[in-house]
Amino acid sequence: MIRDENDFRALRDRRRFLREVGCGIGTMGLAHLLGMEGRAASGPADNPLLPKLPPLPAKAKNVIFMFMEGAPSQMDLFDPKPGLQKISGQTLPESLTSQLRLAFIKKDAKVLASPRTFKPYGQSGIEYSDYIPNIASCADDICLVRSMYTDAFNHHPGQLLLFTGSIQIGRPTIGAWSLYGLGSESKNLPGFVVLTSGVGTSGGASNFSSGFLPSHFQGTLLRNSGDPVLYLSNPEGVATQTQRATLDAIRDLNQEHMEETGDPEIASRIASYELGYRMQSAAPEMADLSKEPAHIREMYGIDDPKTKQFGTNCLMARRLVERGVRFVLMMHASWDQHTYLNRDLKKNCDISDKPTAALIKDLKQRGLLDSTLIVWGGEFGRTPMVEIRNTQDPENAGRDHHPLAYSMFLAGGGIKGGQVIGKTDDIGFNIVEDKVHVHDLQATILNRLGFDHTKLTFRHMGRDFRLTDVEGEVVKKMLV
């Protein structure tokens, strides 16, 4: 620990000793030493990624947020509404729709019953749609929330609200808040990792931005092709020994300069270079799925073209969590079925159902589910009413955005499985029991990580900001 000038001199003398001994510069040994010193020299304030204990008892250490971008249709997957059959093709009464804001359709759009069939699963007997039998097979581990609601009815604002607690752009996301509060257990990988599949999302990088928090809290995108992390590989043709020799020279010259300037910031910079170097081998190792046994690959559907991309991300999510990564955000786009609801919803389910279930089961069999919180869902729901953009194609029917009532699910990480939270009315239009706002969901996630959501704050522009803005209550029913 460097506390004063004497400590600093002692450190400098130790370095001089190491250098003068010359052969003492064993790369890894010194890298380790420097890593320690880099932290000590600058103190925790300058190394914000060191793991920190939360103020409250934590049930979850890691989060895997499976963001289903575009809004999956809840009444076709999670919230059976036989009531819709009775009024299919009718217009909803004006008293119900007067306050409704719709993106595309008009308030007099006709009701569309779900063609899906639902049946109960597991001991809990919770009903799920025929499109997602694998997720349904985890029913006893899942806490299904049928009473989510939000304030935004367009994608980008909805995504901002879900991830940052505000529809105003520029606030930190939940992953960044988690890292800010807890630091990262991983010494060789970024603490907040983002995986994508399908097409680009409406929110783009704003879904994993650090907002006004320092940028080291932002999500690092793990790439689907090429380097798993941007600029991870050595420049083309540069050998590992050259990279190491270069880093050794950088380190020595930086140390030399630290002695001249007396600025401990330089030690932090040296530590960052060492971590970057470790990441160069740790990230490819993490992303290399070739050593996963056949039954695991099969379980996630890695070798089936249909499930390959989503399954790969699910398996990576597990491997990231195993390596101490704090927050994994998976984004799959798009579930925005304004048109061709049946066809495109099925396509998404075929891609994601099996790997999602595999992730839950695999984490469970490894004893990781208890400490890993899985959150699955989109930024809002879809209307019970039909959207038609092409009157000549009957298959074209879809659903518009619906913020008043939708479904998400959680599993693991101190969440009680095998239960349903909340209830919607007979047509799934409004919530009639246990409303859960996205701020409540955020409060609950932070609670499981060991935080009182009202106390995890950051001062910016003269105000203490928090993820849940000025709202949010922990949903006690969800907790074990």
């Binding site: 680009g200 092709s225 043709g237």
Partner: protein, 839 residues
């Protein structure tokens, strides 16, 4: 007790209220307000605009309208609220509610006519005492003991404080460090070896001042200042939000900013032009272009977004930006409620908002020099060709049919789903579409008609019940028009502001929601600040002139504080974005006032103030972290030394390109697309973001010119803390992460710079001078003996191993292995902490 209210409500319903006698206001009512209401509803805080300490104000009501209807308690919001038990509606919201007797008194008082005797009217709220709202003084420089140290008044202010703290200032930095520092601060670029040599050889007493003048006269000076101004203006090359459509002419305003700084346009004029250039008498094109400042707010073109909502959000963004940039106040809080800490009421917020609500977005031709002639010469032939193509494809008839369908959807929505949808899609993407469509074709401007035609041939609308074959034929026409357009000389455009012909009324938006209009407000400023001139029209021009008036206590202070921040890494007010009560107090209040008044009295000249700062002894100190200072002044508030500051993202890139000789020093012009890894742009919405790497010299332009796509920004800039351009940013963060290390080590852009630097070192220096030259190019100084030794060791090691590894040698540098070793050395030097630090 809540129970009491419910009982009361029941009684009200029964109509059993007549027994009460007429209450006496000072004896019966005023004490109730004092006990239960005034904590929030006094002259100072007046929550939601409601005041119960003043008769006239109370009767006028709050932002949602009147609260007392004399004679009708049941219609009075005041009464509804004190009798409610609904959370979020009842009053008071916390603490003890009114007792039954109190409620009865208030009811009786209202029903009896709510008489509020004049005598009990309270005095006006006192002027705020907060330091930043006080007038700017022009303090005398204090006396100091060490008189010979001070070079100008700045030094006396700093030194007086140091002497009081028993601290000595640091010695002057070495000439090489000083030149690198001032070059980076004023131009964002490191000095060249020749510049260093010339400075070292110059022994005249004012050698340093001469360097400062050279740098202030450099065109790169304007680029560096523009970089900071772009942060404040939340500049980007795209709309933001889901669609994030590219703004191909956003750079036109950036050019204005660079030119203005290079010409040292007085800051008051610079302010007026950007906020109200369009309102100046006989406004010139550049003054119109200046209003592009306001056009940098985001635009949400997502399908379901209400255009009114988008406009409201933009106005909020403009109000908040102006407030941060000129007043240093975080007004955003007052969008939804009265500011909790600063003297900004929600009503005042919307009064500021009202200035911006009277204008609208307009695009104009703003040709660059040399564009007009070729465009005019080619125009007749172009129009002729378009006309003949239109005839050939018989397109007018189809367009008229399309316009009729669109108009029908506009006038009678809900009749035809496909056309309704097509219309909503156009409206979000094509600004002013409805306005143009409503104008008869022969009355449309050439510009509008052209835009409509181009839109139509690209989006012909639903095919249903229309001539499918002819519509398909238009595809061919589209290609031919596109080819024609490509060949045609073009005029650069600009995105500007213009005043609406019919000004819109502005209302307080209750809880910040544009759908809940409260009371109407007139354009105005904050009561805590000096008033607007009484006879001036209430428009943006008046607002801008007020901001830079001699009486305004904030603009000059806020502006010089930012300049100070840019020269020391920290403002005299650390929270340079917040001069309100929640911000930091100035470390040297008198110096801040001296600088502000000196700036104002010297014609608002930014160059004058910067010259004063960088020629001071304070600025010229060494940045070495003296051990005793680390303890006494860890944040270097007292400035007994200069600060070491990590370079900003753009400067890191520019320095690497400059050292290697790759830098393309062109000034201004459209944004560029240097190589970016695959997969970055693809993260944008549904694959709509396109990024084509520039392969020519454009790829070596300065970081300032890199195309900034809001949803998928250039990764290197973001890794090094460039702000995201959503709101005004007054102060960048300086983070340190392993991703930065990977970026500098492995990004092909930086690797290419290392190779080019190695090539330069090999070609331009004798073998024994190569390390020295490498240091001169990258760090502007000679290496120490130990540094030279360490680099030599790396080169030797590399030469040996590369001799055995021909393929790697060839990859490093297409020269002999002993030359290739220098790529590694160059790479090491470009990755030094010192290289990315301004010392």
């Amino acid at each position: 007790m809540r129970g009491a209210r419910i009982v009361w409500a029941a009684i009200v319903a029964a109509g059993a209220t007549s027994a009460q006698t007429k209450p006496d206001f000072p004896a019966d009512i005023q004490p109730i307000f004092a006990r239960k209401c005034l904590m929030c509803h006094n002259g100072k805080t007046a929550q939601n605009g409601v005041r119960l300490d003043d008769g006239d104000a109370a009767m006028a009501g709050g932002y949602s309208g009147p609260i007392i209807v004399a004679g009708k308690s049941s219609e009075s919001k005041l009464f509804q609220r004190i009798t409610s038990t609904k959370k979020g509606f009842m009053m008071p919201p916390v603490g003890a509610p009114l007792t039954e007797a109190e409620i009865a008194s208030v009811k009786a008082w209202i029903d009896a006519g709510a008489t509020w005797p004049r005598a009990t009217k309270s005095a006006k709220a006192a002027k705020p005492t907060h330091w930043a709202y006080q007038p700017i003084r022009h303090p005398e420089a204090p006396d100091v003991r060490n008189k010979s140290w001070a070079r100008n008044p700045i030094d006396s202010f700093i030194l007086a404080r140091l002497e009081a703290e028993n601290l000595a200032p640091s010695p002057e930095a070495s000439k090489t460090r000083l030149l690198r520092r001032v070059s980076l601060d004023l131009t964002g670029l490191p000095p060249t070896p020749d510049e260093v040599k010339a400075f070292l050889a110059d022994n005249r007493p004012d050698a340093y001042e001469r360097q400062v003048d050279r740098l202030l006269a450099s065109s790169h000076y304007g680029e560096e200042r523009a970089k900071h101004w772009l942060d404040l203006a939340r500049y980007a090359d795209s709309d933001g939000y889901e669609k994030d459509v590219v703004r191909p002419y956003a750079w036109r305003w950036r050019n204005y900013v660079i030119d203005s700084y290079n010409r040292d346009t007085p800051f008051d004029q610079f302010t007026i032009e950007q906020l109200a250039g369009d309102l100046l008498p006989r406004a010139q094109t550049e003054q119109l272009v200046a209003t592009g400042f306001q056009r940098n707010s985001l635009t949400n073109r997502e399908g379901g977004v209400d255009r009114k909502e988008n406009r409201f959000d933009q106005l909020i963004n403009r109000t908040n930006t102006a407030s941060t940039v000129w007043l240093g106040l975080t007004m955003g809080c007052a969008q939804c409620h009265d500011h909790k800490y600063d003297a900004i009421s929600q009503k005042e917020y919307y009064s500021m908002f009202a200035f911006f609500n009277r204008s609208d977005e307009v695009d104009i031709d703003a040709p660059m020099p040399g564009e007009m002639g070729p465009w005019m010469r080619s125009r007749p032939a172009y129009l002729e060709e378009v006309a003949s193509l239109k005839k050939l494809y018989d397109v007018d008839e189809l367009q008229t049919e399309w316009e009729n369908h669109m108009r029908a959807a506009m006038d009678n929505p809900g009749k035809d789903l496909e056309w309704d949808f097509a219309l909503s899609a156009v409206i979000t993407m094509f600004d002013r579409f409805q306005e143009i469509l409503k104008t008869p074709p022969d009355q449309r401007s050439e510009r509008d008609a052209d835009a409509l035609f181009h839109w139509f041939i690209a989006n012909t609308g639903p095919l249903k019940d229309r001539d499918r074959d002819r519509l398909m034929g238009i595809r061919d026409l589209r290609r031919r028009i596109a080819r024609l357009d490509e060949r045609q000389p073009k005029l650069t455009e600009a995105n500007i502001m213009a005043e609406l012909s019919a000004p819109q009324a502005t209302h307080v938006a209750i809880k910040g929601d544009y759908r809940s209009p409260g009371v109407e407000v007139q354009p105005g400023t904050l009561a805590a600040l000096p008033p607007l001139p009484a006879d001036a029209p209430k428009n943006r021009l008046t607002l801008a002139r007020w901001l830079v008036s001699k009486e305004n206590p904030l603009t000059a202070r806020v502006t010089v504080n930012r300049l100070w921040q840019e020269m020391f890494g920290r403002g005299l007010v650390k929270t340079s974005e917040d001069f309100g009560t929640q911000g930091d107090k100035p470390s040297h209040p008198e110096l801040l006032d001296w600088l502000a008044s000196d700036f104002r009295d010297n014609g608002w000249s930014v160059k004058h103030t910067l010259r004063t700062i960088v020629t001071s002894a304070v600025y010229r100190q060494s940045s070495r972290v003296r051990p005793e200072l680390k303890e006494k002044d860890p944040e270097n508030v007292l400035l007994a030394r200069q600060s070491r500051v990590r370079l900003e993202a753009e400067s890191i890139r520019d320095s690497a390109l400059a050292a290697s000789g790759l830098l393309n020093p062109d000034i201004g012009g459209p944004s560029v697309h240097p190589p970016q890894p695959k997969g970055v742009a693809e993260l944008g919405y549904a694959g709509s973001v396109k990024w084509v790497n520039d392969e020519d010299a454009k790829r070596y332009r300065r970081g300032l010119y890199i195309h900034f796509q809001r949803t998928t920004p250039y990764p290197m800039l973001m890794n090094f803390d460039r702000p995201d351009s959503n709101v005004a940013c007054s102060r960048r963060r300086q983070s340190n992460s392993p991703l930065q290390a990977l970026n500098l080590m492995n990004d092909p852009v930086f690797y290419e710079a290392a190779q080019a630097l190695a090539l330069r070192v090999n070609q331009e220096a004798q073998p024994e001078k190569r390390i020295d030259y490498l240091f001169e190019l990258a760090l502007g100084r000679d290496p120490s003996a130990r540094e030279r030794e360490r680099v030599q060791k790396l080169v030797d090691q590399q030469a040996t191993s590369l001799a055995q590894d021909k393929p790697q040698a060839a990859a490093l540098l297409p020269l002999k292995p002993q030359n290739a070793a220098w790529t590694t050395a160059a790479r090491a030097v470009l990755n030094l902490e010192e290289f990315i630090t301004r010392e």
